[in-house]
Symmetry: C2
Subunit: 131 residues, 2 copies
DNA sequence: GTAACTATGTAATAATATAACAATAAAATT
DNA sequence: AATTTTATTGTTATATTATTACATAGTTAC
């Protein structure tokens, strides 16, 4: 599914483009290497774009892997409720889009009654292929 | 609650000790700095201990913060089902121990029926103090 | 058109983590 | 007790991930 790329700056488009073309999460320096032919030479150029893209929900950071993956959710503005399944063997990562799960977690309240505005959930296991 | 420290090596005890004394998550190099008086001079000494302590569930890594916190759960062997609440203002981190939540997540299955053996969940918000 | 804001380019460096290798110590086996 | 195996330690160097700081340029709002 193609994503709207309006409102994005030149560098943000370049970085998003390379991430969307990758099935798997990409590491920042791998992105940097891949966009050097497009003129982005230094880490801050990549990290700034990444920060913005994460902020607006176009991509998500897989925290346990320090890697970035394009958001494939229909809405694609869900920067605040993310869930992933990660295969510990082949490192395949998939975003989980379960409205049941997201409802459950968005409504979750801890004992002190603290209300959360954001969560990130990472599941680990062995995928079918690797079994 | 004091934790059993049998089976732990010298360096593992030293590192666990410093983490348990801290209310808040500690970063690896902050730990290193703090244990230098005890003779641990180099990063690998700390990282090895951290790896082992994470593996056996004595501590957990807060992935979004690259920091380590002592496990306060009664069982304290829960290395495979972790949930935290993180205040984005004061960076206060608390481990969530809700059997309801852990049951829900441990039983969660995605569309492809992949079964997970591990998860990590991080909630973000503003804590009561900071409100 | 100028002020305020956003984005860019660049160099340097900070922060986080691992590889590789030599040496010791502890546990298990005989 | 000697041997083998396994886990742990110490150390140097380096790899990987991310930010600071500053100069410049483009855009938007008034």
């Amino acid at each position: 599914m193609a994503q709207k790329q309006q409102n994005l700056s030149k560098n943000q488009k370049i970085v998003l483009d390379i991430i969307e073309k990758s099935v798997q999460p990409m590491k920042a320096y791998s992105i940097l290497f891949n966009v050097q032919k497009k003129g982005l030479k230094a880490p801050p150029q990549v990290y700034r774009a990444l920060d913005k893209l994460v902020e607006i929900g176009k991509i998500h950071k897989i925290e346990s892997r320090n890697a970035f993956i394009a958001c494939r959710n229909s809405a694609c503005t869900i920067a605040n409720a993310t869930a992933f399944s990660i295969c510990e063997s082949c490192e395949d990562v998939k975003e989980i889009s379960s409205s049941k799960l997201s409802k459950y977690l968005s409504n979750f309240q801890d004992k002190e009654g603290m209300k959360y505005n954001k969560y990130n959930l990472e599941f680990f296991g062995i995928c079918k292929k690797c079994k």
